[in-house]
Amino acid sequence: MSIITSPASEYFQGDIFADVPFAYVRSLDFVQPSDAARTKFTATPLPATGNKAHVVAPCSRSMGMLVTHECIIDKGGRAPWSFARIVRISVEGAEGQQAIRTGTNYQAFHLPKTAGILDEESYVDFRLITAVDPALARDLIRIASLSTEGRASLKQQLILYWTRVEPGV
């Protein structure tokens, strides 16, 4: 039985969303809103430490997994929701795919192909995490949740990825 199920009635860590925006800061190109008719933004110098401006960054939209714990979401407020990008397993070679399936690739969490939800065998890449405003996140389309077993497996893999330790010995 797949660890992927139809969406639960409430948000849970491990929920899968469509079209999550994944931004990546590659350069310090800052801009500011412009009043000009044809340009929405104009270049601006780097803001001073502690100050804000907009930065130009590549941003893709793709499937993502909610890694923020539901406890934070229940509390509401301004806390961003963090999403990890979901990637097709076919982007990896045979050796990499097997490591993802068995969990020996720490940064990955395997997602089996699941009829009606996930067309291709995939994985969550914990290295590709983006923070999204909660109001925007609530407007994203949630397409699946994890089973109880899947959520426990996810938590164990998150512990392994972030700390490089596991219980036992």
């Binding site: 406890c71 229940d74 301004r78 068995t102 969990g103 949740s145 089973s147 899947g150 512990i159 036992g168």
Partner: protein
Amino acid sequence: MDNVRTSGAGIANWKEASSRLQISFMPSQAEHFIGLPPNLISTAVFVIYRYASVTEASSQNPPKDPLFAPFVGPLGMARSHAERATLFNACYRPAPEEPSYFDVPEDLL
């Protein structure tokens, strides 16, 4: 699907595991614990059994005890989702609700 928002499965499984260990170990070792309070005996037996099980195991020689088989092994050993979930539920307890929670200051966003 279980929609309990904080799983108590970890505690239940751990209690069950320690209970099974005590039962399996006590008969042959009871003479070492005469005179000790029962709760201390339980703790001591469990610790000794667990130490023995872990000591027996090594990265090249996984333990024979099926109770520990999913738990002990080389760091990051290959596991199925079911085995990883078993490891998690047996070894971690849900943290209590935070006594206080602070929202993210708006000017940081």
